[in-house]
């Protein structure tokens, strides 16, 4: 056990599983670096965000390699390899790039098992960076997990801290279904105590990060950190039950419903676009299954229905914040 960054937690998860299972391979664009470069040094970079440093040296280019900029081929290669016995990890550098390869994910990998009558499995993980906060603007800052969550056949993971990142990624690699693993780009430097050995965190089990009685706050990914801050800030005045579902598919609806039955109030915090979203899904679940428990109308804290702006000032307004979450909490208390 030692303090590790989110980045390092990711690397360790991949390393453990590649050590454990020779069928695990890993490929994507620039995850190794130096293929074809003038320094003639494969392994030169270890990923745009440094999440894969050292893996090439350990596992060699049969098991970890770079690819051309051809995301459909990458995702299809992962799906085809998974169908035929490997357990690939494929990197889609930014979630925003799903548009050039979505078919291989949602019509192929996600549907094989069903279309083939259960006579196939597709154990693969697609890692990708998500989220706003770096001023990377409309095509490099999106959340997009509602789109993956919408698709039957996919599992969707949103870690909110280094400990969860490691345990959930190990579970993702061991899982027999296609898993979308989404890493918030602003969190890579987050530090936390993380065990040195491998451990798996099961999917569909929410983490209650703050226990409380007055308001249920369901928050996703990076938003869990903000929700926790609000809980700490309001402690003594208003008591928040902060729920981090950790996976949006499967979603731990039970924990959410139980909490709302206890608190009677709900705030949902999500960085994704607001319409047909994970935030809407949570509110809908609660309305269907715990309507009578709701003392006041639930409140959604999400960005507006707009693309992500480039200007840092606008971006800061765009993403939910401690302030907007606190306001929502006060509103459901008052309402």
């Amino acid at each position: 056990m030692s303090k590790k960054s989110f980045r390092h937690a990711i690397t360790e998860a991949i390393r453990h599983e590649m050590e454990r299972d020779p069928r695990v391979i890993f490929f994507g664009e620039d995850i190794v670096g130096g293929f074809g470069g003038s320094a003639n040094k494969r392994g030169a970079s270890g990923g745009i965000m440094g999440t894969t440093v050292g893996l090439y040296e350990q596992f060699g280019e049969k098991r970890i390699f770079d690819t051309p900029i051809s995301e459909s081929a990458i995702m299809g290669a992962a799906a085809g390899a998974a169908l035929t016995g490997l357990r690939p990890i494929a990197e889609l550098m930014f979630a925003d790039f799903l548009g050039v390869c979505f078919d291989q994910i949602f019509n192929q990998a996600a549907k094989f098992r069903y279309m083939f009558g259960g006579n196939a499995k597709t154990p693969m993980v697609i890692r990708m960076m998500t989220g706003a906060g770096f001023g990377a603007a409309a095509q490099h800052s999106q959340a997009l997990w509602p789109i993956f969550t919408h698709i039957p056949g996919l599992k969707v993971v949103l870690p909110s801290n280094p400990y969860d990142a490691k345990g959930l990624l190990i579970q993702a690699i061991r899982d027999d279904d296609p898993v979308i693993f989404m890493e918030h780009k602003v969190m890579y430097d987050d530090m936390m105590e993380v065990p040195d050995g491998p451990y798996a965190i099961p999917f569909g089990e929410a983490n209650v990060t703050r226990a409380g009685d007055d308001v249920t706050v369901v928050a996703f990914g990076r938003m869990v950190q903000f929700a926790n801050k609000v809980a700490d800030k309001l402690a003594g005045k208003i008591s928040l039950d902060v729920i981090d579902p950790r996976t949006t598919s499967p979603m731990d609806t039970e924990t959410i419903i139980e909490s709302v039955e206890h608190t009677g109030r709900l705030v949902v915090v999500d960085e994704a676009y607001p319409l047909c979203s994970t935030a809407s899904e949570v509110i809908s679940i609660v309305a269907e299954h715990a309507l009578k428990a709701l003392k006041t109308a639930p409140v959604k804290v999400t960005p507006p229905h707009t693309p992500v702006p480039a200007a840092p000032g606008l971006e800061a307004l765009y993403v939910p914040s401690v302030e907007t979450i606190e306001k929502a909490v006060l509103k459901v208390m008052a309402g």
Binding site: T67, S70, M75, G80, G85, D103, N107, Q108, R113, M115
Partner: protein, 323 residues
């Protein structure tokens, strides 16, 4: 040209005849309204799937297309279970959940018909990657039509396979049309071979109604792939005997063309003439196969019609291994 053994020749004929009979019967049954869904028949292209797949074992993988019945049969899928699947019955290859456009049998290395044009190529890249990773001598084949070659996924797969030197064969079937559109319009390049070769791999074109031509070219490509020589493309030129899908009135086509095709471009006729002429097989041997296959398909259709559909609870199973 290599001499082929009687066993090989008989197998080739049986496969082509089985595809012919299977598809001809599906055409009849579809018109009679007994087969659900959309269906695209492989009639006229039998020699291609056969000539390619006869080089493959169950450990080799193929990815297929919306026009996938021929690939299934050539790859060794159980014909009765295929028919059950076309009828969407519980005991079909995919429990009736896939149907004609998603028929698959992973145990036979048949990674599925595919209703998305061009989607099979990246999947075959993946299967070839499995072979490379595990160090097996296996290869993968990506079947695809002339129309599909204009899909970005196919181009990406070609470059990708060359870069990684994967044991992969692009088996392009130029049947002259993508739906209602002729290749003379949809292809900007001089031809498919030149364009594929420009991706950095060997490519050749053969008569897709001549089993022997396909068999030999595919043999070269498969051998190269198994030997670590990387990917190649084999373009087989044939023609679609039917509409794009069953029910297509083919107003865009000169229907006299099809009569000509059936007369002069019938792979079975050509095969029969040649093997009888050169004395490798006797007419009676072929006739016997014809009769057996006819019976097999008839039995398959009867069984499929009588078989039970999936149970209501099957609706929600097989989405995940666990959830």
């Amino acid at each position: 040209m290599v001499e082929l053994s009687q066993t090989v020749l008989l197998k080739a004929y049986r496969l082509m005849r089985t595809i012919r009979e299977f598809e001809s019967r599906v055409a009849v049954e579809f018109e009679a309204g007994t087969v659900p869904g959309f269906t695209h028949l492989y009639l006229g292209q039998e020699a291609i799937a056969t000539g390619v797949c006869m080089h493959l074992t169950d450990a080799d993988a193929i990815s297929s297309t919306h026009r996938g019945h021929g690939h299934c049969i050539a790859k060794g899928c159980d014909v009765k279970k295929m028919m059950l699947e076309l009828y969407c019955k519980r005991d079909g290859l995919c429990k009736g959940k896939g149907g004609s456009m998603h028929i698959a049998d992973i145990s036979k290395g048949m990674l599925g018909a595919n209703a998305i044009v061009g989607a099979g190529a990246p999947l075959a890249v993946g299967a070839a990657l499995t072979a490379r990773t595990l160090g097996t001598p296996n290869v993968a084949v990506a079947f695809g039509g002339d129309g599909a070659t204009n899909q970005g996924t196919v181009f990406e797969s070609m470059n990708f396979a060359v870069v990684l030197r994967l044991p992969l064969i692009f088996a392009v079937e130029n049947n002259g049309y993508g739906e209602h559109t002729g290749i003379s319009y949809h292809l900007g390049a001089k031809d498919l071979v030149t364009r594929s070769a420009a991706f950095g791999m060997p490519a050749e074109e053969v008569d897709g109604t001549d089993f022997f031509a396909v068999y030999e070219a595919a043999g070269r490509a498969v051998a190269r792939a198994r030997a670590g020589g990387g990917p190649s493309t084999v373009v087989s030129v044939a023609a679609r005997w039917r509409g794009h899908f069953e029910g297509d009135p083919q107003t865009y086509r000169d229907l006299a063309e099809i009569k000509e095709l059936r007369k002069h471009k019938d792979c079975l006729k050509k095969f029969r003439q040649r093997v009888i002429a050169d004395g490798s097989l006797k007419a009676e041997q072929l006739d016997a196969i014809d009769a057996e296959v006819a019976q097999l398909i008839d039995a398959a259709v009867n069984e499929a019609k009588a078989a039970p559909p999936p149970a209501p609870e099957d609706l929600t199973t097989d989405v995940y291994v666990s959830y």
